[in-house]
């Protein structure tokens, strides 16, 4: 069981690094789906009895992050050719290098702060930090609106891993509220992306400023 958990955590971090290297919008969304699916299985591997709270989390994550959100993201970019490249500011090589550096940093950070009670796996906190940092890097290094949303969601996945430490603390109602907020958030973002696409014929957020003459 524990080996499975460690494997799953490693897969999540590796997928995050793959996301840094991916340039096509379609493959970025698919990698995110895969990562979320692996993450959804983690609560089941934590041991202990399977109660309703855990099941809701697992099902909620699957429905939300594996089914709904990817569908919406694909809808938002339906005008964009899937093959269109979405390179970042730094280029792939530098991005990957930074990603590796961030993973190292996360291990260093987590060795610094001591958890009051032993977590389920020694890898949990470093991989949560890694996923969070890589999501943040993805968010700031890419200019395409859709990759920024995926970056935000990867960050959210990192936070989800932290939340596993608190599975018994957070009431179900609040958990559902968080799911709802993420859902509505991505829903609104997709609509905005779609509008931007219609209006500007591209979704490059670094070129959203209207030309000088058009400013009101």
């Amino acid at each position: 069981m524990l080996l499975g958990l460690d494997m799953a955590l490693a897969v999540i971090v590796i997928l995050a690094i793959c996301l840094l290297g991916a340039v096509r919008l379609g493959s970025i969304i698919r990698l995110f789906v895969f990562q979320s699916f692996v993450m959804a299985t983690i609560p089941l591997m934590l041991g202990g009895e399977v109660h309703i709270h855990k099941l809701v989390i697992v099902l909620g994550t699957v429905v939300l992050k594996v089914i709904f959100i990817p569908t919406m993201l694909f809808w938002a970019v339906r005008h964009v050719s899937i093959r269109r490249y979405a390179p970042g500011f730094f280029g792939i090589g530098a991005n990957l290098l930074l990603g590796g550096f961030l993973v190292g940093l996360s291990f260093f950070l987590s060795s610094g702060i001591v958890l009051t009670e032993k977590p389920f796996s020694d890898l949990l906190i470093p991989s949560a930090f890694s996923t969070l940092f890589i999501g943040f890097l993805l968010l700031i290094s890419r200019t395409k609106a859709i990759t920024q949303v995926v970056g935000y969601l990867v960050m959210e996945n990192g936070i989800f891993l932290f939340a596993l430490l608190l599975l018994e603390t957070t009431p179900l109602l609040v958990e559902l509220g968080i799911f709802l907020d993420i859902f509505v958030g991505v829903f609104i973002m997709s609509i905005v992306i779609n509008r931007i696409q219609n209006e500007f014929d591209h979704t490059d957020t670094s070129r959203l400023t209207a030309p000088e003459g058009e400013k009101g």
Partner: protein, 472 residues
């Protein structure tokens, strides 16, 4: 009663999405705002039963923010009816529906006693207000909406992480209910608590518009229609401020108040400095007001950071700023409707063409820069004297310096707009100013003036009680 006030605004929002006519929706908006205001007033008269361990309860801090939100929302709702009258052929379903959902989420923020629920409510305010920013679907509005959505969502995500860290630091208890957190705070694990403070300050600070996380604020406030800007600046920022206050409560209870205070003072001074730099030579008058909001959030942060009398000053200033800024944004909305431009250079001689709006703009400028006899003067001087009392002489020096700089640069911009002769090319035909465009900002200006001359005892008591809640 709390359920009633929550249900009311949510029901109103739902109703607005269903009703077929613009006029009916306007009616719903004003009615809900009025009943909300009356409910809020009843909370002041009849103290709420003290429900231990409940998710939803109203303490003195929450009540203060709720009062500001409710009063401002009522005034803005009346103003909005007049403001959007020119677009009567367009459906206002989205506008009214989202406004009422926005009111619901802000009310939920003020009554949340569970920090997880609090987070959900704060994120809901972002989502409810994002569609309001670009109602006209203008091209430049998209950038503002996108920035607002992305920066605030990411910031708030960090605050969620901070909230989780707080729960982790509560050794053995693992709770997020404010009461339990406060009573067990002494035994918290300090490294996790500090980590939580940093993440929460960055997160809620983003939403509150503290520099250097303020970058969404000038765009969103200047692109949004003026009634929305007034609500964003006067009500929403205070809700995020409440999040920082909650973290402050826990920190003080855990004996880490000085760490929290010094971080907040630093952020506050940076915000005031950034605002001072960007206000000088600002060519867009709505952007100028937006940066002024950054400045005032900085003042609030400094007040809380230095502690002592500064706490009282901060709460007082929160009320003053919300009403003054709400009034100024409404005045700016009038200007935009008369002149159809946001460039301050193209607006001259307002006092001659539109005496009421020009007068309000002057009064608002004097109030926002903290001139006597307005309430802002009193609250700013209280924060200054607190900084001197606590021997933070450096803080007091920079605080005064930035205030003076901002006064000079705002005076240059505003006085040039108000005085002088109206330009022939830009000045439209002289038409009567509508009552709906003048009375709401005038009402708020009178409140701020009154607060400068006389603070009612119930309000004074509330400020003192709130300072005690936050004091260690």
């Amino acid at each position: 009663m709390i359920f009633f006030i929550l249900g009311l605004s949510l029901f109103g929002g739902g109703l607005a999405f269903v009703l077929p006519k613009n006029g009916m929706r306007n009616g719903v908006l004003v009615c809900v705002a009025l009943v909300h205001l009356l409910c809020m007033a009843s909370f002041w008269i009849i103290p709420l039963p003290d429900v231990r361990g409940s998710f939803l309860a109203l303490d003195q801090l929450g009540l203060l923010v709720l009062s500001v939100v409710s009063t401002l929302f009522f005034v803005v709702s009346i103003y909005a009816v007049g403001y959007f009258r020119g677009e009567a052929n367009k459906s206002n379903r989205m506008l009214i529906g989202c406004l009422l959902c926005f009111l619901f989420s802000m009310t939920l923020v003020t009554v949340s006693q569970h920090l997880g629920l609090f987070w959900v409510a704060i994120e809901a305010t972002t989502l409810a207000s994002a569609p309001l920013i670009n109602l006209q679907r203008a091209r430049q509005g998209f950038e503002a909406t996108w920035k607002y959505l992305m920066i605030c969502s990411v910031g708030i995500a960090l605050a969620l992480l901070g909230t989780f860290f707080l729960a982790i630091s509560a050794i053995g208890f693992k709770t997020l209910l404010l009461r339990d957190l406060l009573s067990h705070a002494v035994s918290f694990s300090v490294p996790w608590l500090k980590l939580s403070v940093i993440f929460s300050l960055v997160g809620y600070g983003t939403k509150m518009g503290l520099a250097p996380m303020h970058t969404w604020l000038p765009d969103a406030h200047s692109e949004a229609p003026s009634p929305i800007s007034a609500l964003l600046s006067g009500a929403l920022l205070n809700c995020a401020f409440l999040g920082i206050l909650r973290i402050g409560q826990v920190c003080n209870a855990a004996g880490q108040g000085s760490f929290f205070g010094s971080m907040l003072t630093l952020l506050g001074l940076i915000s005031m400095g950034v605002a001072a730099v960007f206000i000088s030579g600002q060519s867009d008058y709505k952007r100028m007001l937006a940066y002024s909001s950054v400045e005032h959030m900085g003042i609030l942060a400094v007040g809380i950071g230095v502690g002592g009398m500064g706490l009282y000053g901060s709460f007082f200033h929160m009320v003053n700023h919300a009403f003054t800024k709400g009034m100024l944004f409404m005045t700016a909305g009038n200007l935009y409707q008369y002149y159809h431009t946001k460039r301050s250079r193209d607006v001259t001689g307002v006092l001659r063409t539109y005496p009421w709006t020009g007068g309000l703009l002057t009064v608002g400028f004097l109030a926002i820069t903290g001139m006597p006899p307005f309430g802002t003067f009193l609250s700013e001087i209280q924060i200054l004297s607190a900084a001197v009392d606590q021997r933070h002489y450096g803080v007091a020096f920079f605080y005064l310096l930035f205030l003076a700089l901002i006064f000079v640069s705002m005076a240059t911009i505003v006085l040039r707009m108000v005085q002088g002769m109206p330009r022939q090319a830009c000045a439209p035909k002289k038409n009567r100013e509508s009552i709906l465009a003048v009375v709401p900002p005038l009402f708020l200006a009178l409140i701020v003036l009154m607060l400068g001359l006389y603070v009612p005892p119930f309000l004074d008591g509330a400020f003192k009680e709130a300072s005690q809640l936050l004091g260690s």
